[in-house]
């Protein structure tokens, strides 16, 4: 019953979470084009599973993230994507009129620092710092104990801070760049 309603609502669900999916995919795939492919494949899988679902989806975003993470595993096997590099993100978008040069340079360096992290570390940083998931949610999403989430997250952040410090970013320069 109401299968048209289900399809519409799936489209809506994707519309609401598409940017987050894209961000997670970018952190996974290290380049925009591959990230878009991954998101597309994720959505096809999600749609098929959504059609069969009769029980409620408790947290739709986490559900989609989980499908993306699993899809990425097959995806990497299929396409041997392990050594692709992070894109140069279009810095036009992030440019702030008042501090054009500084901001653009900072984001370029931040992107490079992210590139130097291991993909698992980028994912943790994305989930905790950007998408603001709790340790418990991350632990469920990645299937690792909470203690492991905390220690890996600590290492990931330390690495990122060290990489940024190497590029000369301290508290003051971060404030200037904003």
């Amino acid at each position: 019953m109401f299968s048209w309603l289900k399809r519409k609502s799936f489209e809506k669900l994707i519309q609401v979470h598409l940017d987050s999916l894209m961000q997670l995919a970018y952190m996974k795939c290290e380049n925009r084009e591959l990230a878009e492919d991954l998101v597309q494949e994720t959505c096809v899988k999600a749609y098929n599973s959504f059609l069969k679902k009769h029980e409620e989806i408790k947290s739709p975003k986490a559900w989609l993230f989980k499908i993306l993470i699993n899809t990425h595993i097959d995806f990497t096997r299929k396409k041997h994507l392990s050594i692709v590099e992070l894109d140069t993100v279009d810095l036009e978008d992030q440019r702030d009129n008042s501090n054009v040069g500084d901001t653009a340079f900072f984001y370029k360096d931040l992107n490079e620092a992210l590139k130097e992290l291991r993909p698992e570390q980028r994912i943790l940083i994305y989930l905790a710092d950007v998408d603001e998931h709790s340790y418990k949610e991350i632990s469920e999403l990645l299937n690792i104990p909470i203690g492991t989430v905390m220690s890996r997250l600590y290492n990931a952040r330390q690495n990122l801070r060290k990489l940024l410090a190497k590029k000369g970013y301290t508290k003051e320069s971060l404030e200037v760049s904003r």
Partner: protein
């Protein structure tokens, strides 16, 4: 609290993972120690920048179109099945036949109440409201929140019925479910009782296994449907909404 411990706790505070008591202890150390204050500021700034940078990565407009296309393509193959074609012909004939006296039937509120589970797009009330085009905020649902109800699904229907129904379904930890329906003006369920709430006439009563309540608001009619809560319980929950939306 010493500097070494504080460093470990800074991230946990920013992650919202510390108890209020621990929070206060760490924050009071940070206020009195310039080294730790600097670490705190740096962590906070890095996080803020990361959010802006990664948050600025957006899906291209094409991507969503591609996704819809891909999923539609899967459905299209279905159209070639002979059984489906015959079914379509029968359906068209039946619609033609019945059209004059039974216009496409409008889904009943209690039917929608039962399928809206599948329509969950987010647990965030403001996000849900935005997507179905209703001006709702957390205060409107404050009594629901006190009753441990949280948004559970939402749906916005305008075709093929040529009317607008917007519905948000809420559920609590006991599994009790209630739907809030926003309807075009002129909604009626016959043979219900009336009560005055916040100067508004609320119609309420039960039919079959379902309980209903509805009232007229400024631009639309608002109805409540539930199988788990009686009309009075529903009106109590919706009270902050009545005369507000």
């Amino acid at each position: 609290m010493d500097c070494k411990n504080t460093e470990l706790y800074i991230d946990a505070i920013l992650d919202n993972e510390l108890s209020v008591k621990d929070n206060l202890e760490v924050l009071s150390h940070i206020r009195s120690c310039s080294d730790c204050k600097e670490k705190w500021d740096l962590n906070e700034e890095t996080r803020a920048e990361l959010k802006i940078f990664v948050g600025s990565i957006k899906a291209s407009k094409n991507l969503q179109k591609e996704i819809v296309k891909k999923n539609n393509y899967k459905n299209k193959r279905f159209y070639f099945r002979p059984a489906f074609i015959s079914a379509c012909m029968i359906l068209m004939l039946s619609i033609g036949f019945f059209f004059n006296y039974t216009y496409l039937q409008f889904p009943q509120l209690h039917e929608l109440h039962n399928v809206v589970d599948y329509q969950l797009i987010s647990n965030d009330i403001e996000l849900l409201s935005k997507h179905i085009g209703i001006n709702l905020n957390k205060e409107h649902l404050s009594a629901f929140e006190e009753g441990m109800f949280s948004p559970h699904g939402a749906v916005n229907i305008n075709r093929p019925f040529n009317k607008d129904i917007k519905m948000i379904t809420l559920k609590n930890d006991k599994g009790h479910k209630i739907s809030l329906c926003f309807l075009p003006k002129g909604y009626k369920i016959s043979n219900l009782n009336k009560t005055q709430v916040n100067g508004v006439t609320v119609h309420h009563g039960s039919k079959d296994d379902f309980h209903f309540a509805y009232w007229e608001s400024k631009v639309m009619d608002i109805a409540l449907v539930s199988q788990d809560l009686n009309p009075i319980e529903m009106i109590d929950l919706a009270e902050p909404l009545i005369n507000e939306v």
